[in-house]
Symmetry: C2
Subunit: 338 residues, 2 copies
Amino acid sequence: MPGIDQVAKLAGVSTATVSRALSGNGHVSEPTRHRVRAAALELGYVVSSNASSLATGRTRNIGVVIPFINRWYFGAVLEGAEQALLGHGYDLTLYNLSGGDDQRRSVFEHFLLRKRVDAVIAISLELTGDEVDRLMDMHKPIVGVGGSIAGVRTLSIDDAAVARLATDHLLALGHRTIAFIGGNREYDMDFHVPSQRRAGFTAALATAGIDADPELFRAADFTIPGGYAAAKQLLGNPRTRPTAIFAASDEMAIGAILAARDLGLSVPDDVSITGVDDHELAAFFGLTSIAQFPALQGRMAVDILMDQLHPDHTALASSNTPLPFELIVRSSTARPKL
Amino acid sequence: MPGIDQVAKLAGVSTATVSRALSGNGHVSEPTRHRVRAAALELGYVVSSNASSLATGRTRNIGVVIPFINRWYFGAVLEGAEQALLGHGYDLTLYNLSGGDDQRRSVFEHFLLRKRVDAVIAISLELTGDEVDRLMDMHKPIVGVGGSIAGVRTLSIDDAAVARLATDHLLALGHRTIAFIGGNREYDMDFHVPSQRRAGFTAALATAGIDADPELFRAADFTIPGGYAAAKQLLGNPRTRPTAIFAASDEMAIGAILAARDLGLSVPDDVSITGVDDHELAAFFGLTSIAQFPALQGRMAVDILMDQLHPDHTALASSNTPLPFELIVRSSTARPKL
DNA sequence: GTGAAAGCGCTAACAC
DNA sequence: GTGTTAGCGCTTTCAC
């Protein structure tokens, strides 16, 4: 493991020059730069990020805090962020907060504060004022994805608007008896995504002059089996069966499609179904969905951070940037049969 | 951001004592230890991991290199590793190698060598001799999951045995015309998992005195849609239709179940289907599967690393540890109809 | 454009 | 059991 001094010796310059030549900070003549590069290459020299971080105060490492890894949306955001960071020469340190409050506290109190990261990206996590303050105190930029956080730059889709769009699509097709599969309490913790989607759903119905029937609401856990079970309940009773279902996630919508099939109902002839996410399986199931673009969300979070970390910094200190979403109509929705 | 010297001042001791008291290395009297802890707490002091790493040469950070994030198996291994590392006070830096050769090279040449990680876990990646050497040169332990690598401590299931077990299950039920859905070249790159599973399949058939019919083999991409398409081909022709399908992954097996349903075939009455993984959806689909335990695999990899990093080090330098697997029989397999 | 030297914040000998 | 001190390997003024 050669050090900077060996490179300096080999190139016949000082360590200061090596540092400048390799980092691009400060002026070095072309010939010198070349000699240094050659020497570094020959020795297989790679800077020690610790020494460099200690000297500069910057780590080129971003902490990403995320509640799940193995759910499509979260994995996709993570993937997007990872690619973007790698492209900028940054590392990504992953903190998966699936372990409850203790773990969350320990991550915030010990891990993130060790000066190991330059900034943090929080995915679908509503940071507490205290958590934000501690990071701010250390001058660590934060960007949140998936909901707005007081005092923090965030990116999020307008969940109520998403739900309204989905519901309006169903209404426009002529549906009047529309069920909603939302989330249970556990999933409402952080940004109340399920509640907000339900609110948008209810609002859209209200605008169309329809009262939301509490019988047509089911809570589930954002998974395929959860959506399946909820839809079975909704669709099983022929007297109260809705002509359409809006599920707050594509996974649940896919579960609903499978439930309809198992009940001998045809989608969309007997029941129209729509979800949210544009999950990788949505096309396969012909699922009409409201796309949000998780990989893009990850990349955007990184862009904002880079902006904040590197002094072009036009940055608005705190604000929420709305994220794009888009109705993708496939074969799971149609006019209701007369 | 208070430094160690401030803590020292407040506690009325030297920085060395603070370091000892906080890290647990070296002897400090109980009262002193308490005073130091109290001072640290009061100031909100957290060690700078950079300074500490620079001084000790250890980072308490592990690099994890993984080809996919958003596939169930990989996500689960990652999750397992992450939990285990957090528990040991280690950070996890994630390198997702989905971007092709250039990215892979850059990760190995620049990122992993910056002395930022103490060790690396490679998931389903067959490291080249060169990649191994460079890491070894830096005295960085490596553990591989998912296949054996020359000179490296690895954990892997015996893919051929897994396939034999699945095939034997089908044979024991009385099936004689069994199709195999494997992987295409792209998925065979690293540890030849698809080829090995195919070999096990063929071997099991041979033992039963059956020649594998090349018409009953289809390559797919380890996804649900891929398995669906392959199964449609296999099951569509009534003259050549197999009575059972063994898919090299649960995702493909689930696709096959859906294909069978779409063709009006009953599972398992008309066709038995089995997969590998015990995917989180396997139970939902009643899929018979060979479970491997990815989260456990991640945890085991971490345990081995901890062992290697901390001087209990009974460690066998290089060897492959077989991983457990287990047949889980559900409702997707049964005797063939006469 | 380049070099000398003073840190960055901590740890680990080595003394006492 | 605790303090002193010399680094760990870089970066960055400040001179020249």
